[in-house]
Symmetry: C2
DNA sequence: CGCTATTCCGACTAATTCGCTCAGATATAC
DNA sequence: GTATATCTGAGCGAATTAGTCGGAATAGCG
């Protein structure tokens, strides 16, 4: 249950890649695609959302590419995932902002499951709100050939 | 994102219904279906899982039905949702038990998203582990004359 | 016994979502 | 003006979801 689709997984991966290159300059999708082993044309769809949410900005044309609109430590993972996968709500009667919405069950009797989804949602939002992109970027990964291999263990 | 399917929603709802009737006796699926406004034949599929996981027990034949195998306060919501929707894992490289599994990304470079899914999973499991069916049963919600007595003595 | 209420079981299906691919249009450095 | 990019929309096969359908097995009751 509660599984994240490749939109979320790939999208976060793209954001991490951009975070690693934040101070270096523009990064093209084909480079990201090669580095991460993901299909370019699929990434185009994903990064479109990220651009529209102004999490990344783009430069068109030759030697163009993408970069983060803000420093990695100012981008919360909740923003990223909301952008990629839509509002964080487990069931219709608890909206993303935590507000209880009247649902079909309220007509019949009180919506008995609302407390469950509400608590679960709070736990998820809290976790994602207190986590930034910067935490997912290995500190010493300064993009050399061997840099990726040296990536620190984080578990 | 992270939305729960009707399997989870309906299944939890069935469990809550059974919890409300825990001390009364057997409860048939058609009764549950009418009370909760859910399609019987779909519920049959769901309750099959719950039975196989020994969360509910059944009695066949006329005047048969279902009941919880354990008192509501001994049934954790994590068990219920795992049974209904499968293992609680957000992405393939973090299993339900929290163990990190080698994934495709480890070949390329360190799996950069693992920390994210790992933390999120922990928050979800913690929430579900510390919540029991009993917490979702409204105290005064009881139908039938015998139910009022139950409500009075259990709360 | 026969009738009825109930659980049990497997197959089928329509609609939706997922994970892409394809074919281009548009913009910019050189 | 050409190569390199970002953009855009459409399509598409596989999987999942949310059920339905049809019937078999079991048990109480008169």
């Amino acid at each position: 249950m509660l599984h994240v689709s490749t939109r979320g997984e790939y999208g976060v991966r793209v954001m991490i890649d951009l975070a690693r290159h934040y101070r270096i300059g523009l990064r093209s999708l084909t480079d990201i695609s090669l580095a991460e082993g993901l299909p370019v044309q699929y990434l185009e769809q994903l990064i479109k959302r990220l651009r529209e949410a102004e999490l990344v900005s783009s430069t068109r044309g030759a030697h163009g590419g993408y970069r983060l609109s803000r420093p990695p430590d100012e981008i919360r993972m909740s923003e990223v995932l909301r952008t990629l996968e839509g509002p964080i709500g487990l069931y219709s009667c608890v909206a993303d902002d935590g507000v209880s919405v009247a649902c079909d069950w309220d007509r019949l009797n009180h919506c008995s499951t609302r407390l469950l989804w509400s608590r679960l949602r709070s736990a998820i939002i809290l976790t994602l709100d207190t986590m930034t992109l910067a935490e997912l970027v290995p500190a010493e990964t300064a993009d050399g050939p061997a840099a990726a291999i040296v990536a620190a263990e984080t578990n």
